[in-house]
């Protein structure tokens, strides 16, 4: 039995949680201190496959700014963040773009897209 303390980042409340790892037979996790189901999900995920949303920008032409803000459509594995940034660096768009437009489909084969977060 092992206990890991963590702060939930699922929302800005920042619940202080403990995740208990139970390893008799199948590994199970018991999350305590969370105030909502998202906390439980986060706690288990942090122990198995920690993921993060990536928000950044890409180059854009024919727009009133030279960078368009983007995000991943879902959280991606933590260890893929810098690879994702590398992908974003290669993007060069032409305006106009609408919020929600897919900028990179199936990012790094993760079945997650990169989408525009504003119209420009």
């Amino acid at each position: 039995m092992m206990k890991t303390s963590m702060v939930c980042i699922a929302c800005p409340l920042g619940c202080k949680m403990e995740v208990e790892t139970i390893t008799n037979g199948n590994t199970r996790y018991i999350v305590t201190g969370n105030k909502c189901p998202r906390g439980e999900k986060y706690g288990v995920k942090e122990m198995t496959n920690p993921t993060r949303m990536v928000t950044s920008t890409v180059k854009i032409k024919n727009a009133h700014l030279s960078r368009l803000p983007v995000r991943t459509s879902d959280a991606i594995p933590k260890d893929k963040i810098f690879e994702c940034m590398k992908e974003l660096e290669a993007v060069q768009l032409d305006g106009p773009i609408k919020v929600g437009d897919v900028i990179i489909k199936n990012l790094l084969g993760l079945e997650i897209d990169v989408i525009a977060t504003r119209s420009m």
């Binding site: 920008t57 590398k86 974003l88 660096e89 290669a90 993007v91 060069q92 609408k98 437009d101």
Partner: protein, 494 residues
């Protein structure tokens, strides 16, 4: 071949340059910095002293009182903010009152007009926010406040308008005497000149020593200041000094011409002629000393702090003389306080000296003493404002919110003679970024305007010196781009 080379573009160099521009002379001013007015001129108390402080018979006494009297006309011609608000030297004890009496007598001999010793109740009438412990003061109505860098910039601009050449980012590295005068070597090449006027400020001894035996040593002395928000700008109405003691002059409290409040300076000998950093100790000292005079002042309204260096010498008087070894080489050195007040008089004096050396110069018929009028958009009437925007819509766009400076004004000061080429230069000329947010909001916009007007990339826009870069390059263009050819094209759903 130049007739006259002025080394140093501070208040003294520019005052001399403008004075020389009245004559048919081929004059050049060189400065190692990226702007004029970039040394002591940009960090001092901004006071036009009355002239009671200098010892009788000194050059300081002579040029201070004479210089002071020239300010009204000069600042009017050049469109520089100047206010004759008077000064008070306040005394807390009978002993200090004795000192005031001495200053009063000294001032009278120096020729300071309308000096007066006033009592407690009159001090309070002039300055209701000062300490209740003050028992009297020396009142000098002729003292004033001025924008020191604005004055130097305006002098430089007017000098250029009248034919003087200015070369910035040009550091004099060697001077050689020859038949025709001097060969001046800079990091940007050589040139020949008949006469040299050394206004090198903190580096004046080094310039002198390039061609002469060392005859003086500049002793840099640092003064730190705090500048406060305009909301407390009228906390005092005049320049308030403490009575000088053997421990020094004490710190002063004064309004600035733009309506802020200034407290300073400290006085500290330093080794380095560039040591203009502020220190924890210095800033603490200012607060402690100022509290004696303004005990209830809200120090939390500080918007910035800065430090300047005074170019002192052991003899404690200005050095304004032709070198004994090099004919045609004039040192104008050791110009510490009251250098700003004395500058207009020093300009005249040096030209007279040069006339003695070179014979009389021919005046220019077309010399124009008036600088092209400066636009202070917010000071215009509503009708004038509307007309201005009609003519040039850029006057309708406020770039600096705190000081309410328009794009039109910023473009104007960039495109003037001796115009602004960097962020601090814009701040000094148009006050954009000089307010309470200190350029947080307008910095990026001003950089954009500078890049556009100077036709350079925004990453080339600097804060102050050539190497004071602000941006390191565009995002999304780092090293991994070279090895990113394996990346596939982007799919884009519209």
């Amino acid at each position: 071949m130049y007739d006259v080379t002025i080394i140093g573009g501070g208040i003294i160099g520019t005052a001399i340059a403008r004075e020389l521009s009245r004559y048919k002379l081929n004059t050049i001013l060189v400065d190692k910095e990226n702007d004029v007015a970039n040394g002591t001129t940009k960090a001092n108390s901004a006071i036009v002293h009355a002239g009671y402080d200098a010892k009788v018979g000194t050059l300081k006494a002579k040029t201070n009182v004479a210089g002071n009297a020239m300010f009204d006309t000069l600042c009017k011609e050049l469109g520089v903010p100047f206010k004759r608000i008077g000064s008070l030297v306040v005394a807390f004890s009978e002993e200090e009152m004795v000192t005031l009496k001495e200053l009063y007598e000294q001032g009278k001999i120096n020729g300071v007009p309308n000096l007066e010793i006033i009592q407690q109740e009159d001090v309070r009438k002039i300055e209701p926010n000062l300490s209740k412990e003050i028992i009297g003061a020396l009142y000098a109505p002729s003292a004033g406040i001025v924008g020191p860098w604005e004055l130097a910039i305006a002098l430089a601009e007017n000098a250029v308008e009248n034919g003087v050449e200015i070369r910035l980012n040009t550091e004099v590295t060697a001077i050689e005497k020859n038949q025709e005068g001097f060969l001046v070597t800079t990091d940007e090449g050589h040139f020949q000149t008949k006469y040299i006027i050394n206004c090198g400020g903190l580096f004046a001894d080094r310039i002198n020593n390039m061609v002469n035996t060392p005859s003086f040593k500049i002793l840099p002395n640092r003064g730190e200041y705090n500048l406060f928000d305009k909301s407390v700008g009228n906390y005092v109405n005049s320049v308030v000094f403490q009575t000088p003691t053997k421990h020094g002059k004490g710190v002063l409290v004064l309004p600035t011409v733009h309506g802020n409040l200034l407290i300073g300076p400290t006085a500290e000998a330093v080794d380095e002629p560039r040591a203009v950093e502020t220190t924890i100790g210095g800033l603490k000292y200012l607060k402690e000393k100022a509290q004696k005079v303004v005990p209830n002042f809200p120090f939390s309204t500080v918007i910035t702090s800065f430090a300047g260096l005074r170019a002192k010498v052991a003899t404690n008087d200005f050095i304004i003389e032709e070198s004994k070894e090099s004919k045609g080489f004039i040192n104008v050195a050791a110009i510490d306080s009251p250098g700003l007040s004395a500058a207009p008089a020093i300009g005249k004096m040096v030209v007279e000296m040069l006339k003695e050396i070179a014979g009389n110069f021919q005046g220019k018929e077309d010399f124009n003493p008036n600088r092209r009028p400066v636009i202070n958009f917010m000071e215009l009437s509503n009708e004038e404002k509307a007309a201005m925007i009609e003519k040039d819509p850029r006057y309708g766009r406020i770039i600096c919110r705190c000081e309410e400076i328009t794009e039109g004004e910023i473009v104007d000061i960039i495109n003037r003679k001796a115009g602004a080429t960097n962020l601090d230069a814009v701040k000094r000329r148009a006050r954009a970024g000089a307010g309470r947010c200190q350029g947080g909001f307008c910095g990026p916009r001003v950089m954009e305007i500078l890049a556009r007007e100077l036709n350079v990339d925004i990453t080339e826009v600097v804060k102050d010196s050539k190497s004071s870069y602000l941006l390191t390059g565009p995002t999304k263009s780092s090293k991994h781009q070279e090895d990113s050819d394996q990346l596939v094209a982007v799919s884009q759903d519209k």
